[in-house]
């Protein structure tokens, strides 16, 4: 047993040495890997859907298509879970979804209270499920995570931003805007920046993590060019994919959790 471990370690070291000696991929280009992986023939150029009031209606094809895939998968997951849902004998999938739902509901109730939080359950649940599925989609070969496009994450963050105002005004009315003038009115620029920073950080955090994960996957795939690099690039790629699963869940959870926190801050009375 101990000998097997030793041999494996030695092999890994050898692979590492070989990798460094041969030079990490000579004519290496992420663009080329990306192009090779695009077996679906999804165009790189945006779709032009015409102009509305001086505004170009352009869409990123890959983002849109994989968003549809992620939406379909999320819906499929939920339909399957809802079909297996039963009071006495829920299916395994239904149990899992129920647990996730219950957990997120607990988080919302904890920070907003059941009264104010009841309307947020769907939003938070959808955030978590959709972002998780979208993130994990990035690990599927030839597919892309919709969240690796900054427009998706900004779209989601803007929804949280809007919800902050909706919930703040709904539960505090005009008093909600008072927090811009506190503790002193001349803090107004700072509080405004603070408010704007929330969706910005939300969007960039998710986007950065997912884009980084994707670029790393492509780069590690690009390293697989020769015998030595197959060993090095492949191992690293596998490890990175495993880490990618972890990051996908963590980032989905962080986005969800921070959305709850921001909305609860907008609603909370002690400002």
């Amino acid at each position: 047993m101990k000998r097997a471990t030793l041999v494996t370690l030695l092999g890994l070291l050898l692979v590492f040495v070989a990798l460094t000696v041969t030079g990490c991929g000579e004519n290496f280009s992420i663009e080329r890997v990306e192009h090779d992986l695009n077996i679906w023939g999804i165009p790189h150029e945006p779709w032009h859907l015409g102009r509305i009031g001086g505004f170009n209606l352009d869409l990123n094809p890959a983002t849109i298509i994989f968003t549809w895939v992620a939406m379909a998968l999320t819906l499929l997951l939920c339909v399957a879970a809802a079909r297996g849902a039963d009071m006495r004998r829920p299916s395994k999938l239904a149990c899992l979804i129920e647990m996730v739902f219950d957990f997120l509901r607990g988080l919302v109730d904890e920070s907003l209270g059941p009264k104010k939080g009841a309307g947020l359950y769907t939003l938070i649940f959808t955030y978590f499920l959709f972002i998780t599925v979208a993130n994990l989609l990035g690990l599927v070969p030839t597919a892309m995570a919709p969240t690796a496009d900054h427009q998706t994450t900004f779209g989601l963050a803007l929804i949280t931003f809007a919800m902050m105002y909706v919930w703040g005004i709904r539960y505090k009315g005009a008093r909600y805007f008072k927090h811009y003038l506190e503790p002193y009115p001349f803090f107004l620029p700072i509080t405004i920046i603070e408010d704007l920073a929330k969706p910005l950080t939300l969007a960039f955090r998710l986007f950065g993590n997912m884009k980084g994960k994707e670029v790393m996957i492509l780069a590690l795939l690009g390293l697989i060019t020769g015998v030595a690099e197959v060993a090095g690039g492949f191992l690293a790629s596998v490890l990175w994919l495993a880490f990618g699963v972890f990051v996908s869940f963590i980032q989905a959870f962080v986005f969800t959790m921070l959305s709850i926190a921001y909305i609860s801050m907008a609603v909370s009375e002690e400002h």
Binding site: A82, F125, I159
Partner: protein
Amino acid sequence: MELKFNATILAQMVHFILLLILLRLVAYKPILRILEERQKYIAANIEAAEQQRLEAERIREQFEAEMRRAREKADEIIQQATRAGEEQARQIIAQAREEATRLKESALQEIQMERERAMAELKEQVANLSVLVAGRILKEAITMDTQRRLVRDFIDEAARYVQ
């Protein structure tokens, strides 16, 4: 890499809201319904269990009270029986004693009567014998009646003396 925005951001927001609405219809409502149902079911079960526990407690208390009452009653019955038994024993003994006394008295009476009868008979026999003997001896010296009277007087005197 510069950040460029186009209509994709709007499309993504619309997509998300669409997904939100669909999930609300497909998943949120059934799951929440199931969760609430289960919660209600569990609450009802707990309620029922509590109720049953109280009921069991009540029945137990009732049962214990009944047991206590039964035991008291049994004690009372035993005591009563003991008392009755003692009473009866006393009665039987008293009766027996009375009976014995009565028997003794009747026996004594009988003995007395028997003795008196025997005495009378004896008197008769002795008188007759004496008369016979005296008559033989005196040979018609005195009349029979006189003799008998004399002898009876003598015997009476003797009997009084004996008694």
